[in-house]
Amino acid sequence: MTRRLALFVGGAAVAGIAGVMAFGAPSRAQQAGPAVADSIASTYLAASDTADLRGPRQPIFFRHDLHAGQFKMQCQYCHYSVNVSPEPGIPSVETCMGCHAIVAGSDSGGRAEIRKLRQAWSEKKPIEWVRVHFLPRHVHFPHQVHVGAMGPNACATCHGDVSRMPQVFKVNNVNNMGWCISCHVERQVTRDCTACHY
């Protein structure tokens, strides 16, 4: 029970910030890096503008660049089990609703997407996100250990700077063993096969 309560409280707080920031968005966007400047010119991108974005199109156009970028939400807020479990944890719809029960979105497009979310919630249908990063079945990648060992920008090391991605795409070929091993060699950590393969 307590956990669920916390979600709502925390959610409300974030929601507040979100509301403020949403209006201040355009101005802030000018300072944003050129690579993504126009991509976050407005808090919402019409499907036409997003056609050239990399990565798979998700059932809901969730914007990491807003949540993680502008609103500075911690990755762990949604990916709740990343530092206790091998699995990072995909946020439950309930987690989203923690904020979006209150936050309806600042413009038409945003509202449209959030409506999808609320619909899923009312229909008790989980959202089927398209998977972007994943490893073969015979590889075991313990997130909790890597997050612990690599500190603050652990996530970005493999997933890239998600906070600047309107739509998440695969920056690094993480399901290629070369990617893992080069990093392990560089950092002089274990190269034992059974560290990952068992």
Binding site: N176, M177, G178, I181, S182, V185, R191
Partner: protein, 457 residues
Amino acid sequence: MTTSAPELPDFAPKLRLTQSHADVTRDVVATLQTPSRGYYMLLFGAVALFLVGLLTFLVLVKDGLGHAGYNPPVMWSVYITTFVFWVGIGHAGTLISAILFLFRSPWRTAVYRATEAMTVFAVMTAGLFPIIHIGRQWIFYWLLPYPNARYLWPNFKSPLIWDVFAISTYLTVSTLFLIFGLIPDVAAVRDRVKGWRKFIYGQLSLGWQGTDTQWRHYSRAYLYMAALATPLVLSVHSVVSWDFASSIVPGWHGTIFAPYFVAGAIYSGIGMVLTLLIPLRKALRIEHMITDYHFDNLSKLTLLTGTILFYAYAMEYFVAWYSGNTFEQTTFFRRAFGPMWWAGWTMIICNAFVSQLLWFRKIRTNLTSLFVISIFINIGMWFERYVIIVSSLSNDYVPWAWDNMNPTWADWGILAGSFGWFGMYFLLFARTFPIVAIQEIKEMIPMPRRRAGGGHH
């Protein structure tokens, strides 16, 4: 044209060639003309067998190796047996073509082309088995050392890796040697055929004109090639033997394995040479070129290697007894009196005993008996490997794990396929290239003395 009976080169009183250079070329090239029905039937049979093997292989790739008779602890059986068998076959070819060339033993000339071809195709066949027998055939290339992002290399400690190198080297060298030896003959053929064939033989003869310079360089190079090929006869099968000798399996873990296997290889190789040549010379009507004399010599070689094998077998048992090692003792006891006694005795009788018949000249020169013996040798040598592999694996250290295996259709299918694959190439070769070395036969014939109006050549 007529030629007075030429004086023979005194080093080879037996080689009485009565015809002229021209005749030789004619006879040999004749072997390349329209084939007989028998030939086509043989070829058809070979291709059919090959298809059987191919089909079996596809099933194995689809479902897994389970179809074969593997019965743990027997994790290797018919496929590795056949692999070693074919590698062994190859060796006689190189021995005859390279080593006997260096030893200047003239009787090889008539047969070496055929045996060399046999070598190449035997090794080609053997090369398939490491791929066929592994569990995930589609990633066999992981056995090769190639740079990759995963920092992964093959394990150079593993005899199986040595195998990869041994076999590929052997295939390369023996192929080059064969092609090289063919050049002058291909040229000879080129000069006798028309149309597209002329073009192809032309290409293959690499612009051979038979000039003195060419001859000088050619014979030098050939010598070096021979020298290069010679050590392989010993090295390749030694390496193959280490697949077994370097393990700790009782019955494999023996220091005599390398010489033992090399002798066995040559023995089996010559067995196969006999099996192939005896019918071939008839089929190609070249009895006057490949004579009793050749077979007599081949038989002597067989007798020699066969006797070495006999010694090796005896030594294996002696060492097992003398070592006082219970594991060795049990293995060899069961090899002779265990559930696989029949295989064990087949190997000993076919190899150790049958070969001893060749002490008798009558048998050596009687082609029928020789042919029968050669068949025995082939069977015996296949079983030698079968016994070494299967019977040793079926009863090693932990008695609880002991078990016997029975081959299934999948085993026989691949075995048959390998013979088809080999026969197919050999038959095609026999029709496409001179199966007897024209030039070297000619060297046997002394230059006819010039006379007014003397024939030309």
